[in-house]
């Protein structure tokens, strides 16, 4: 029994190292792909649309498109935190609607603008906390939890607002999405500032490392003493908070609350995350990727509109782009 052992294990070892080398080569290229997808696609898209419509590349056009990409960026950043945890938050777009509704209610009650904004942020945090609690402690799959909270939040929106939008005329709030520095609007600058903060959180704090570890391998994280449910809660709360910020941005952009959920936002946020090379299996993320992904999708939509393509085609194109991007990054883990 013992004397015959060495030979098979030597062979097995050699075969394993061969297969390992092969796997390494594939992973290497895949990693490069996932990192480069969003930037390369964005550059290509800008070149193609500029050739087809030179007006696309004009400064006013670019600043308008960047301003348009604000809400997708903020929501993509939120979705990144849920996806990094190997989860998903389907209630994100509904949270935006609820945030705008609670903000409008606070405004109608005569609260000052700053407090109204805090109400919107708190709304997002509460929805995120609800999702995080059920995912982390009750251990219901993220998909089911956020599907439930999606419906719950949508219902709350309609109940609180009675289904009617409320106009919020606050010059300061409107200025965020109409004024800017050097033509670049404040809302885009705020979104970039948030992205920088979240980059630091994800890659330069203990919490960020723990978030990646939990998303990568929750069992290993538990064995190393990380408090997995707590970290999940925090991740989902950041996601919810981004929904709250999205609500403020939306209200600023439109000038009124929006009780009806715009599912296009959820789709775009998830799409941007996938395009940005964040692993849907968790544990691997960047911040610049989803930001570029969100800008890419907005540019794509605007470019198609500029070319005179019917707006009805836009979800179709986004759907194709997402599936294509996910296919490029298949077989991860």
């Amino acid at each position: 029994m013992t004397t015959t052992r060495p030979h098979p294990s030597v062979e097995a070892g050699a075969a394993r190292s061969d297969r390992l080398r092969e796997a390494l080569r594939r992973i290497g290229t895949e990693e490069v792909w996932t990192k480069l997808t969003a930037p390369v696609a964005l550059v290509l898209l800008i070149i193609v649309f500029s050739i087809l419509k030179p007006r696309f590349i004009s400064w006013p056009s670019i600043t308008t498109m960047l301003a348009d990409s604000t809400i997708p960026i903020v929501l993509a950043l939120g979705a990144t935190f849920a996806v990094t945890l190997a989860g998903i938050d389907l209630s994100l777009a509904a949270t935006v609607a609820l945030g705008s509704v609670t903000m409008a209610t606070a405004h109608q009650a005569g609260l000052p603008l700053v407090l109204c904004c805090i109400v919107a942020l708190a709304t997002g945090l509460v929805v995120g906390a609800l999702n995080g609690t059920f995912v982390g402690w009750v251990r219901i799959p993220d998909f089911i939890v956020s599907l439930g909270s999606l419906s719950l939040v949508m219902g709350l929106c309609l109940i609180i607002s009675d289904g009617k939008p409320v106009i919020i005329s606050e010059p300061v709030l409107t200025a965020i999405s109409t004024q800017g520095m050097g033509g670049i609007r404040f809302n885009f600058l705020i979104a970039i500032a948030i992205a920088i903060v979240l980059h630091v959180v994800l890659f330069h704090t203990r919490f960020g490392t723990h978030l990646l570890a939990v998303g990568d391998n929750p069992d290993a994280a538990t064995a190393m003493g990380l408090r997995v449910p707590r970290i999940k809660l925090a991740g989902y709360m950041i996601c919810g908070l981004m929904g709250g910020i999205g609500a403020i941005m939306l209200t600023s952009y439109i000038g009124s609350s929006q009780p009806a959920t715009n599912t296009d936002y959820l789709l775009k946020a998830i799409a941007a995350v996938v395009l940005g090379g964040v692993s849907l299996f968790g544990g691997r993320a960047t911040i610049y990727g989803p930001v570029l992904g969100a800008i890419l999708l907005t540019f794509l939509q605007s470019g198609l509109t500029l070319l005179g393509v019917d707006a009805f085609y836009s979800p179709l194109v986004i759907g194709i782009v997402v599936i294509a991007a996910a296919t490029l990054m298949r077989g991860r883990k």
Binding site: T2, P6, S9, V10, A12, G13, R16, S17, L20, L24, I27, V200, H204, T205, R206, G208, T209, H210, L212, A213, D216, N217, D219, A220, A221, T222, A223, M224, G225, L226, S279, G283, R284, K333
Partner: protein, 258 residues
């Protein structure tokens, strides 16, 4: 010469109607390599998980350095100076080597909630430590996913060595490794003991137990059925003890005490 580092007294643990541990007792002496052997389902893993805080025993006692302890979480065991290298290694594949080495014990700078991780300091320390252990050193910035089996094992053991304050538990440290890598890991374990740590190792490999360890405990059916100095038994005897062909060699603590 050697003090008793860990004493396990009549440990019991049930999962529903399944009794995984039916009163297991053993000693681990300081500065030695102690093995636990046993067939699948003998209760080795359950015993180990009680020692590392992943399970809380239903009854019985664990004494570390003579003091009774009750571990409720992996942190508790860690604070008592016991590090564990799990069979599945508990590594995060997509994090780098240094991030895994410092997981949950990151170095930070700053005040209160505004703390930034000291990435460079952690990278340098990790590189230094791995170079010291000098076993098939992978670059510390590489993600664990891209390491070979032996390198992964080395990282997991290095993490245990780096944080252990007295004792390391290794669960099947070479089960998935080839001959070369097994030899390297065994050399690493010996070096760890030379540095003054106590090692408890779970192994299926009787040759390895003979090569590596000072004391061996045999588990069967949720109990520790025998314990002896490794030099006093042959591989065949160990097999007999594990399968039950040799009912009990000595009283559980007889020869182990000397």
């Amino acid at each position: 010469m050697n003090e008793v580092k860990v004493q396990v007294r009549d440990l019991r643990k049930s999962f529903g109607s399944v009794e995984a541990l039916k009163g297991a007792s053993l000693d681990v002496r300081a500065g030695e390599i102690t093995a636990i052997v046993g067939d699948n389902g003998a209760g080795k893993s359950t015993l180990i998980k009680c020692l590392t805080g992943l399970y809380t025993p239903d009854s019985g006692e664990i004494l570390v350095d003579g003091r009774p302890v009750s571990f409720r979480s992996p942190q508790d065991a860690r604070e008592a100076g016991i590090e564990t290298v799990y069979q599945d290694l508990a590594l995060c594949d997509q994090l780098s080597v240094w991030q895994n080495l410092f997981l949950d014990r990151e170095l930070t700078a700053g005040f209160g909630p505004f703390r930034i991780t000291r990435r460079r300091a952690m990278r340098d320390t990790a590189a230094e430590l791995l170079a010291q252990l000098a076993v098939n050193v992978p670059p510390v910035t590489r993600t664990v996913k891209r390491l070979s089996g032996g390198q992964r094992q080395a990282v997991a053991i290095a993490r245990g060595v780096m944080w252990a304050k007295g004792m390391i538990i290794l669960d099947e440290p070479t089960a998935a490794l080839g001959l070369n890598e097994t030899a390297q890991v065994e050399a690493l374990i010996r070096r760890v003991v030379e540095q003054g740590q106590t090692v408890l190792v779970v192994s299926h490999n009787f040759e390895q137990v003979k090569r590596l360890t000072d004391q061996v405990w045999v588990m069967r059916g949720g109990r520790v059925v025998g314990g002896t100095r490794t030099e006093d038994v042959t591989g065949e005897q160990l097999v007999g003890m594990v399968t039950g062909a040799i009912p009990t060699v000595e009283t559980p603590r007889g020869r182990g005490r000397r």
